[in-house]
Symmetry: D3
């Protein structure tokens, strides 16, 4: 199926008739160190979503490009909205789709900072039986493969992200800067003192903005990640298409 934005309202009427699941790509526009583009997270989400756009049971919605990124704002070009605003923007978009009869939606997400807001949105949509909208984070879906491919803890602009975007948008990556990203970066996310997470912003713990081992990245590994991710997403869509919406709703009190 074409994406929703490219259909007429008459086409959409047919599409909603036959579709079983919606796909909403969400990401962010924020620093990803000196080698990767600011749009990394929404470009990744969009790429995974477009891979499943031709399915007959799936309608792909427009990509939401700005996410919850207050912790990146010391780095030029980072954009952010509040958690509340993002929650509402996503939740109301999904509610709109539900008004046309599609109450199962997979949020294909490219940004870790969105996860808490997406959980809140999904919880409320489920509680009120408006929609069932679990989040699919691409890095969770390919975690095993990433462990095989890279020797890193990672977390942001790491080997995994660098490889993926290199595969998807070679022209937007500056391979020469990957060493610098790693050199002035951090090994793992955050900064801990006696069990307390005291690093609130990325600038508290990484000078380049990167966290992980981006020097291990390659477009070939990115292709592997992408292929694996798409396969997982396809499987999820099939699983959800087959599940009745009644089975999706919140379980009642014991």
């Amino acid at each position: 199926m074409p994406t929703l934005a490219t259909m007429t309202t008459e086409d959409a009427a047919d599409a909603f008739e036959s579709a079983a699941v919606g796909v909403l790509p969400t990401g962010s526009t924020e620093q990803h160190g000196p080698a990767l583009p600011l749009g990394m997270d929404h470009l990744a989400a969009e790429a995974f979503a477009s891979a499943v756009a031709d399915r007959d049971d799936t309608i792909v919605l427009p990509t939401i490009p700005v996410g919850v990124s207050p912790h990146h704002m010391q780095f030029d070009g980072s954009l952010t909205v509040s958690e509340e605003t993002f929650t509402n923007y996503v939740s109301e978009t999904i509610s709109s789709v539900a008004e046309h009869g599609l109450s199962k939606v997979v949020i294909v997400n490219g940004h870790g900072g969105n996860v808490s807001a997406l959980s809140r949105a999904a919880r409320e949509l489920r509680e009120t039986q408006v929609a069932y909208a679990p989040t699919w984070n691409w890095w969770d879906a390919v975690a095993d493969l990433a462990d095989e491919l890279f020797d890193e803890v990672g977390g942001h602009a790491d080997a995994s992200e660098s490889s993926l975007i290199w595969h998807l948008h070679e022209e937007l990556v500056e391979p020469d800067a990957l060493e610098d990203a790693e050199g002035r970066g951090a090994d793992g996310w955050g900064k801990t003192v006696h069990g307390s997470q005291i690093g609130f912003d990325t600038i508290d713990f990484t000078e380049s903005g990167a966290v992980g081992k981006p020097s291990q990245a390659s477009p070939e590994k990115g292709a592997q990640l992408y292929e694996e991710g798409v396969a997982e997403l396809e499987a999820l869509l099939e699983w959800l298409a087959d599940r009745s919406v009644e089975d999706c709703w919140q379980r009642s009190h014991r």
Copy 2:
């Protein structure tokens, strides 16, 4: 300049150094009758924004694809967020840009339903001296030319919009449906009884979803509209680039 999302944070640091004005495309995803795509409004905004993306003094931000469209929700595929959510999403995105030093932004808007929310956002940003962010509606900028080209009152999915999108995305237009859009459509916006606007939703006054004379549309006229619009937008950007931000702030009490 490339668009913001395609820059690294290091590129963005340079870009913010030299840029004078930001451009934020906003639109909607909503019914535009049987002949035009749901994404009409954000595709139009994006097209005008991309035309000025190569200017050295301009940074183009990501397109915000879902707008304020509650009055279109009876038509399949229409998406909407509330006026408050949209206001916040836009306002916080512009505030982000201002944190990096760019406090003049033109909102290139493709959807009439967004105008009230954009005014509120702009007013508050100006009052607090965070940013000066006037809205540029493409149809206002080309109003004289549209009057020459078409014999319509119009207002939605009309000859003007149909021509523009036909020029920009021929593949998304269904020319055969333009007659039907007009035939089952309305001549002017809304429904008035003794001076009172009693039509709250488009479905209250148009069966096809269109308002105007789309049958007069042609891609050639769309090209004229686009060219004219781009010229106006360029002129606006130059005017704003030359204006000091102090001149932009709200005037003090008499």
Copy 3:
């Protein structure tokens, strides 16, 4: 019928039994240039409402005197509340009336700055089937007559408003200042640069606060406008009284 505020609760019980439509006058308290009173807009609304107060099918509610006027605040005496506060104040007042069984209300409005808030209130009241509450702006209802009487674009403290208030409250008008209002005023609303509305506040485009040709005003013309407006309002009330509330509710999805 007497106005609601002058009835006892027992009288009100009877009144709600026989009434078909409520009338809520809304206006503002804000600058209207050097010749007209700050209360212009709520005085006008109140005058139109009181003209229909003696109808058996109509209950007139108290006048809401402060509206959405942030764009007038540089002029002494202007009062404003936020769009959200005004929307809630109006919406909750109408909901109260609906609790007593009257679910059709005409908002008789005297201030352009209120229109967006009133639309939002009315939309939500209709969506939730609490009440159907279209706005009646007096200037829309008398637009044709005003065009005959005056040669102006107008928009604020213009010949039309000046005439009306001169007729209604001669003692509050300073006729000698009408020339000055026009001389230091603007011809039309706002300030446009290359298609963009860049004037956010009235002070951005009018020194006197007036927009239009107030020197053309006369109390006789005001009387004509008033008479015409009252006739239109009466017709609207009759039309709405005859319409079943079911016919008023939002139309369902196509």
Copy 4:
């Protein structure tokens, strides 16, 4: 001075130059039993305010007619807004006045249900040094006299209120219903069980809607109450006019 709404903006400029205190009348539109008008509370506030309107140091603002009355909604004709909406409406109106240079305002209040909201508004305005806006409840100011005149606990539509409105608006009172108001009414406010206030709404404890001994009312006593109240209000305005705004602001931490 004339009231604000009757001034032009030019007059207002002079008025704000010479004025020391603003006066904002607030009330409600709600049941006051079978004998008194629904507008009792805002009519009372308006009457006290208009008595001081001719002072040179005072500007009287428009009357806010709908207040916080959820506990009266089972009685026909009662209107209510939420505490939050009322707080905002009052607070933003007072903030507007402060923008023109008048930062001391007396809220002349006629409705007990508004008190909590008015305290919140006043606290916040004072904390932020926008304005100092204490509430003046007319019944508190005449409490001693009322104790002399009537033998009642009272609280709503009682002898005190009945007398006052009888004096102010004889045509709106139904004297024959005062006995009934008292007979089917309550002696004191609320309903208490073992120390707990369990009556949330007036209908929980009064059938007529009245609380007190309205049969003791007379227009002569109302005149006495009014005279006494006006004298107290005048004294308050003088006291406040003489007090510097610095003395009004919140005291600092110990």
Copy 5:
């Protein structure tokens, strides 16, 4: 029954089966002059609640320790949350209990500043038929006894409060400071000028923070107050346990 927090979820299942009423203790942490502990109000609420914890028909919920105390913030150690936050915290806690089947809850309150917020919470819970949750203020329940025991108007850290906490937590009272509390304190709450309450904060009218005659306090009198209060609370719980929830709901429109 043990308190809720000490039960397992399995125990709670049984407890909710047999219980008829919940008890939610609420208080504050705020100055109570030089002789009493900051936790006075929540310690008092907790003490009354724990006295009824062993009833078979009652489940005691956790104590909410911080309340609405903005008027005490100039005194060291005072904590406050906004009225809105407190209302939500209480209301959502009670809603949680209602989800498990217990829809009658007595709020055992120790702080006057909470009363308005608790009323709002209770009103909304009742209107929506989620729960019936009247407030029990211990000082209201023992008002007659306090009048016998003390010769004071009182209001805060007075003889009544001092006696109670002396009885409950002797180790937290500094008896030597009671004279000073009274000497530098106020006789009655607030500061009135010509009928207007102009004292917004306690520091506006009491130097020590106390209001009343704490020098009259004794632990023996505190024991009497506590015993009386517990008896009243027991009686209230029995009364409420016997009342069907249908009888508790809001009465319908007349």
Copy 6:
């Protein structure tokens, strides 16, 4: 030092003079399976806080007993407030402390569901330079020791929590039910399908409510965990006491 609630305001004045760090215990009241008390999380937080209460540089605030637990509501006795309400309650409490001069606070947290809300509160308090308030989760501080002691992934009512509360409050644990908790429980948190977290509530993936291997618990291991946690917390408080508040504030834009 005694805890804040037990001090008089005079004592508090001295305490704030000498203190360097505040401690705010936060937890929840929610199901912890058949063997552990509902108050587990706030009892744990309170126990760690009380262990450091005697430090001269530390002021311990009251325990906040109800947290963000919507995912446990199908289990009897669970209480929850919304993320927004909890964020505000915590944030305003910490702001209160800051008003008395203490702007460094450690949130000693016992509930995973609170973490997102606490991060938001802390971020905003830091951005506005009101306070620096990092969260200390006890399970993070003792993670290494827990890995040594137990062979579990865990996550809720697991061996670690069971041991701790067994040590702290032996009387509240039902050791016989630990086997059942584990038998009908889950090994790890949540439920994942093709990379998507589809289990929103605990009841979606654990029948008993427990997640982990509680049968490995013992009070002796709990004592070890507690001792280790207290040592870490002490070290954190010392580290923070030595750090100037200027070093704590958010880093500026690159």
